[in-house]
Amino acid sequence: MYKYDNYDQEMVYTRVAEFRDQVERRIAGKLTEDQFKPLRLMNGLYLQLHAYMLRVAVPYGTLNSEQMRMLAHIARKYDRDYGHFTTRQNIQYNWIKLEDAPDILADLATVEMHAIQTSGNCIRNISSDQYAGAAADELVDPRPYAELLRQWSSFHPEFSFLPRKFKFAVIASDEDRAAMRLHDIGIQMVEQDGAIGARYYAGGGMGRTPMIGPLIRDFVPVADLVSYAEAILRVYNRYGRRDNKYKARIKILVHEMGAEKFIEEVEAEFAHLQGQNIDAPAAELERIKGYFEDPAFETGLSDEIDRSDPDFAVWLDQNVHTHKQPGYAIAVISLKPTGGIPGDASSAQMELMADLAERYSFDECRVTHSQNIVLPHVRKQDLHAIWQKLVEAEFASPNLDLISDIIACPGLDYCSLANARSIPVAQKIAQRFKEIDRQKELGELKLKISGCINACGHHHAGHIGILGVDRKGTENYQLLLGGSGAEDVSLAKITGPGFDEDGIVDAVEKVTDVYVAEREDGERFLDTYRRVGMDRFKEALYG
């Protein structure tokens, strides 16, 4: 994986020093809260329901064991011994003190980590495919391109006061595991006439007005990757709405301007930027690629796995994914134990994951957008040992992509913008469907919960989505059906009137009953929904 050189390291240390100075000025009264807020946000520090919250970046979701151990250390030393992995492949701590924040950033910097641009109206941490470098279906590893964009976007002088936040996702396979079309800019690396280039989408997003990003350009040569992004950002910075923060995302600009006109503007800007030296020298991409070369895979390993332990076989079938290298597999650690808090991990669990990564996965792990942790490169022959360690730690839920593998935002338990709690609903649903056989019977079913319209829990992209709303001061939940954040991207639709907390659990059960009754061979919940349509489900819900 990528390693900092002295330049990268110095940039991060400089940022720590700068932020330390800003915090001192705030505490000394030289900065008002209004002036300080954007500065702390650009360092990932929010003020949330109970305390400050710190969001630490995990660039393109890749971590080594030392970094994971540092995350555990921070949880233990500065927080309450746990952290929350997010849908944007980052981690959040909920109980941070402002006075500690500079020290935390200094600790992170020692392992090449930071919280730079994890919040604020700037280009955020760039997300990618959690199986990058390991998946059998990828064209190239997307992370070198994401790293190039990370460098370009870090401390970008022109784009640090955008109309609103700006999120990139970069993938390189036809299967979309990163909700790429639901990002402000989505990039798929593709091949044309033997050359690699970027297919650019722009103007996707969730939030209160979800939109699927339209195609902006089919092929941008790698040599122009950065200048094309610069052109889009400049058009957005100049024309994005600033009168209403709910209409300030690029998706609104693309929508209001129309994709065609938007593309015209971008192309004009891109043409203007030619010859301005925006792009990195070709040698830089080569240098970065060097860090993402395959680890030293053993050859001649067997693909045989002993399935005689039935519990192991269940985990194997559900949580293990095909690897490009014979004898290897991708193993996913579910952070969704039945009744647990989706995405939360204690410092002890982080340490266990670090140990497993170090021992079995070439020192690497990944954070997924569905809030799980991946061991990307494990030998098939080690899977049983890994599983046993997970079982010992009660960390071996075999529920990947099943109904209890729920994405849930922090909701009203932690978030000051929330209307309703998300976590208890996730817990109750997981409890209702706790028999794994029943879950497997329902097959792939992506259930996603947000505690308010901001959609941090991706409810628009859930096969089943749940949205918390405030109904006269009490929590209420709307049910949505038919969304997808994958390559068959679609936006979920609201079924009708909302439910209370117990009602929503019943409602989820009812729609799964409809699916079981209606499905044809091999259909997932989503496929059945698309075929039979909303009415059949509505009937079951509202009679």
């Binding site: 329901l49 109970h50 305390a51 003190k97 338990d413």
Partner: protein, 98 residues
């Protein structure tokens, strides 16, 4: 009645106005009246709190608690982590935790 709340500037802790200082425990909160704007301005200027505002509250068997669920959770801690509760625990929240 209304009570005054904010977040401690340096620690971020949720704090409640006791009439002369800030407490982490909502049970120490006292009712505030129309003249509260002076207190707000003074406490922000002193940088005791990063921001502060009033919320509707009522007396319950457990002492003073905000009425709205969001402020109630702010006062008592996340409902899904009873181990992290700030006193007094909200007995009803237990029903949620599995």
């Amino acid at each position: 009645m209304k009570i005054l709340t904010g977040n401690d500037l340096k620690t971020g802790d949720v704090v409640w106005w006791t009439g002369y200082d800030w407490s982490r425990h909502v049970s120490d909160a006292v009712p505030v009246y129309d003249n509260v704007t002076d207190v707000i301005a003074r406490e922000i200027a002193k940088r005791a709190v990063s921001d502060c505002y009033t919320v509707e509250a009522e007396k319950t068997d457990d002492g003073v608690l905000p009425i709205h669920i969001k402020e109630k959770i702010r006062a008592t801690g996340p409902t899904v982590r009873p181990d992290l509760k700030i006193s007094p625990p909200d007995p009803a929240a237990g029903n949620w935790v599995i």
